[in-house]
Amino acid sequence: MIPSLTREDLKIIGYNLGRVGNLFSVLMLVPTIVAAAYKEFDIIPHFIAASAVAFILSNLAIYFFHTKNGMELKHAVCVAALVWIFGMLLTAVPLWSTRSTGSYLDANFDTMSGFTTTGLTLIPDIDHLPHSINFFRHYLQFIGGIGIIVVTITVLAKSEMGSVLAFKAEAREEGIRPSVVRTSRMILGIAITFMVLGAVLLAIVGISEGMNVGTSIFDGVAHSMSGFATGGFSTHSQSILFYHSVWYEVVALILIIVGGFNFAFHYTVLSGKRSEVFKNIEIKTFFITLMLSTLIIAAALLFFNVYSSPDTLFRKAFFQAASAHTGTGFATVHPLQMSGVWPNLPQMMIAMIMLLGACANSTCGGIKAIRIGILVKAFFNEIKKTLSPKSAFVREKYHHISDTPLTDTIARGAALIAIGYIFLFFIGTAVTMLYGYGATDSMYDTSSALGNVGLSSGVTSPAMPPGLKVTYIFLMWAGRLEIMAVLALIGFVILALRRGIKR
């Protein structure tokens, strides 16, 4: 029996949203440093005003919803779901007020795309954006990427949602608060290490490929933030194609693949257990699915005579496959060229692997490699059971940080999430097609939004109907939260409407 909602429940949620709102207010002051450095003094008041509005609203929420009661799991899940909406609305203000986007709805699309590390954008003229706004967009992806991992490990894992995360001893045995502080520090440390490393390498490559030093450093930092966060925003409308450089693409590939690894995997390897590299089910699953998809995509492009040399296949087929599979969205092929020239098979493969995603507890979206690995093992386990005598006890296990028995509960949880993604994929595709777009393009962009990837066939543009923009905002949000948290929130709302809110 689900207890009715009380006013205290709403106060707890409102109070904690207010506290997070203060964080967004502070975050919006950071780009003013970049604006000052690039003498974009006309942009600074926009960030200050937006930050001030966020401070006012957040502190009013803290005051009026004040409570000393701590969050229970149900509150934490709601806050985890709502914080993206709250953050989206607040951080959209500077994008809209600086006219970087056409409308406030477009600005919300971009900030949701930023926080959810999707990478789809409605900004019509990226090449003429102020440096501070460009920095802000990439920085939102970095913050959003780290944020979702903290939320997933400390909140969603405790709820046993997604099942595969529920077995984490850390989440089970400790309360949320100490876990947030300790886990956040660990995640931030790892993320900053790789971000700095990526920025340095990209800057060096940029300079060696003929770009001026200032642009190389700025682009390096920005692409490192959005690359490691598997976000995919770029400082240029051409994305990585702007650089016409194989070395830039290789460094970007390393960054996005590392960004797609599980943070628990990062922690294990960086603590000295380097053998995890060879044993981890997610790494093995991700490797197999990436290579299989590369094979199919590259073969189709080769035999349909789109590309005909190994380096072109590598820089187009493999790069796009890796970008899609890790949920990044960096592009070395123009979207219009992909939809106009690439045959349907490689486009459909890209759409499928966008839904698969990389590893769990990473910055990427999608169904995640661990669930795919578990489902495949569970499938073969069922076959083994069928072929074995009735009295036989068939046991399967998998290795993810430690050896874990593959139980029916875990397999069921993985299947539920996968079904949730597929269900939303069909809904999103249908809605897109209702607006008059073709089937392949609809599937492609829906996958991209739901899997938080960011590649587009051309459907996502400022000219998109407003209804479709709202649909894709929902898909990005739901995909980021692995569906369940959003459904829990909807359940809360339905409960409130049906039973009312008790005192």
């Binding site: 693949i257 603590s271 290579m291 073969a299 190994p310 890796a322």
Partner: protein
């Protein structure tokens, strides 16, 4: 109070696991990329034989 002299050797020794871990992960990513490249080469070879 004197400043401790920075020793690269001591720093590397203290952070060996972390640095080796970073290199392992970069190496893993590079290996994945290399296999991807190999697949592309293989496909070209197959096409040339057909």
């Amino acid at each position: 109070m004197g400043l401790r002299k920075f020793s690269l050797r001591a720093f590397l020794k203290k952070n060996f696991d972390f640095i080796a871990g970073v290199l392992s992960e970069v190496g893993l990513a590079a290996s994945i990329i290399a296999v991807g490249m190999l697949i592309c080469l293989l496909l070209i070879a197959i096409k040339s034989l057909l």
